[in-house]
Amino acid sequence: MNVDKRPVVFIVLAMSTILIGTVLTTFLPLFMGTAKANLEKVMPYKPLELEGRDIYIREGCNNCHTQTVRPLPFETARYGPPSRLEDSAIDRPHLWGSKRTGPDLAHVGRKYPAAWHYLHLKNPQSMYPQSNMPAYAWLADRKLDTTYSERKMNVLGYPYTAEDLRDLSDKNEMDALVSYLMRLGKETKD
């Protein structure tokens, strides 16, 4: 069959070829038990934590920080228990990261108190003179924009109370980001 003389046949064949690996490695796993975490265990995000996560995304923190501890001895010695499916099971999108210019943050919520994060985000060099992390002091000067906070919770299907939403009214962007960082490592009820 002279496929290279029939462009439409060629296109259909090329698409089919592309879809084989796609379906088997990427589409089917969406429905398979092994890729589904035990969602019962996972704590939903509070509105403030979710807004903080969106600030993490907005500022591109995932470009320098990962959130995936590998099951390797030197890694668990440094960062804590290996990451599990449950840790990111409700994260849309995932923030596993692909580069460690700075350290992995998967369990950072268990490592430092909130006050540490406020100091570090304002001026990383005050704690680590050799650090190359940008200073994010300006986040504390920005009142948290809560226009979409409730809609975000609804789109993601997370439960919340009116009090959770009221809690946002006097917060700035650094409060939100810190509250997100403090959740990292505490995603499940255990």
Partner: protein, 465 residues
């Protein structure tokens, strides 16, 4: 003897110029972020922080340089290889304007932090829709021109063009399905490990279709044209093509080794990544085979320098990449600077050299002239070669050092470098060297743009098409 009246060249010219402009933007941002990693005070907040600029660098060079360069070269190739005029010239012009509008909006949106955070897929949903529409407009012209061709058999470049057209569409749409919250914000339809799996199926197949099939289409045309030698093996290109576009799609999870993604998906990805060496090297062998008896042209023909160094970098890239998929090696170098070292050998070495050869060949043809300066072209070649090697070699060395320091443990099981900052400070000299490599590369690239500009400027007046 062809004239502008037979072939449509306006959109080709427009896309070529657009691609060179956005390449300069992308490269400048690259140099800036390289400096920011060493001098954090350069992170003028909030718009110019590394976290906001890095996606601008990657998106500008993928979607601002490589994609329009392909639109330009592919519109040329489908006409010349089909011996027919472009199917819809006015649609091509509209595609050109629409493209530039999208890129400007893309850059502005990324400066403002409107990002989905998924690598090379950061643009928010309204721009994603615009990109899809743009791609459909482009595809209509490509497929339409191929269908109306007068040369019955499609040459191998056209296969790689068609693969690019369908492959990019499938992966871009697949990874960007999201639920909007507002005009500027959405959430991925996928969650957690599934989102990671889809992201890297996309990420690695963006490499497959934007950074592999796209330059290969150019490579398979320029090499025989530049050397005046026939392609070494048509059969090898058939086997290579089909096995390449089959195998690539299974490899995405090699970006996720040792993550919580189920082991079987990782292992399958590793196996197919190793297998992928074979289809990739089909093109490398075809390149070297075509050069049999022609090696003198490496010295005498500047086009051959670019094409053969390009395919050589491709050969190295497609062995280095699979080796990174192997678990033991991944454990050492994942998340280190080795990875950008690898990426930039592919982008600066393989992709940019091949597209440069494409432009060096095509621009004189469509402007009915000769290249302005072969001396400058040769200087461009050496500068980008040296700049690229400095970039990658310093990053490979630095990456191994980072991985080794992260792994270093005492006999009692405690970390030798227990504070992360101890592994960060040795980066600085390497990052400064990398910046120097980038600046040298950029200088070479500017010579290229100047040479193209002077070629166009000194071309004889042509009839308006």
């Amino acid at each position: 003897m062809t004239t502008d009246n037979q072939y449509e060249y306006r959109a080709i010219k427009g896309f070529a110029i657009s691609s060179l402009f956005w390449a300069i933007v992308g490269l400048l941002v690259g140099i800036l972020i390289s400096l920011e990693l060493v001098y954090p005070s350069f992170n003028i907040t909030p718009w110019l922080t590394y976290g906001r600029l890095r996606p601008i660098h990657t998106n500008a060079l993928i979607y601002g340089f490589t994609v329009p360069a392909a639109f330009s070269l592919f519109f040329f190739l489908v006409q010349r290889l089909g011996r027919t005029r472009l199917a819809f010239p006015r649609l091509a012009q509209a595609t050109l304007y629409f493209f530039n509008i999208i890129i400007v909006l893309a850059a502005l949106s990324l400066f403002a932090g409107m990002t989905q955070s998924k690598e090379y897929s950061e643009l928010e949903w309204p721009l994603d829709i615009a990109v899809v529409i743009l791609w459909v407009m482009f595809s209509i012209n490509i497929i339409g021109t191929i269908i109306k061709r007068k040369e019955e058999q499609m040459y191998v470049s056209l296969w790689f063009i068609l693969a690019t057209v369908v492959g990019v569409a499938i992966v871009y749409i697949g990874n960007n399905i999201a639920v909007p919250v507002s005009w500027f914000k959405s959430y991925s339809i996928y969650a957690g490990a599934n989102d990671a799996n889809v992201q890297w199926w996309f990420g690695h197949n963006a490499v497959a279709f934007v950074f592999t099939t796209l330059p290969l289409a150019v490579f398979y045309y320029i090499l025989p044209k530049a050397t005046n030698a026939p392609l070494f093996s048509h059969r090898l290109s058939i086997i290579g093509f089909w096995s390449l576009i089959f195998a690539y799609l299974w490899t995405g999870a090699h970006h996720l080794i040792y993550t919580p993604l189920p082991d079987w998906i990782q292992t399958v990805a590793i196996a197919f990544s190793i297998f992928l060496i074979a289809p990739s090297w089909a093109s490398v062998i075809n390149g070297y085979g075509t050069m049999n008896g022609q090696w003198e042209q490496m010295r005498s023909n500047y086009l051959v320098k670019f094409i053969i160094l390009g395919i050589t970098f491709y050969g190295m890239q497609t062995i280095q990449g699979p080796s990174q998929a192997v678990r033991t090696f991944s454990a050492l170098i994942h998340y280190t600077d080795w990875v950008p070292g690898h990426v930039h050998m592919g982008t600066m070495g393989w992709v940019t050299m091949t597209l440069s050869a494409g432009f060096y060949y095509m621009i004189p043809v469509i402007y009915n002239t000769k290249i302005y300066s072969i001396k400058l072209a040769n200087l461009h070649f050496w500068l980008v070669l040296i700049g690229q090697l400095i970039y990658s070699i310093t990053m490979w060395i630095n990456g191994i050092r980072q991985g080794a320091m992260w792994q270093a443990m005492d006999k009692d099981g405690s970390l030798v470098y227990s504070n992360f900052i101890q592994t960060l400070t040795p980066n600085y000299p390497f990052w400064n060297m990398r910046t120097a490599g980038g600046v040298i590369f950029f200088a070479g690239f500017l010579l290229f743009v100047y040479n193209i500009y002077k070629t166009i400027q000194t071309a004889p007046a042509v009839q308006k098409a």
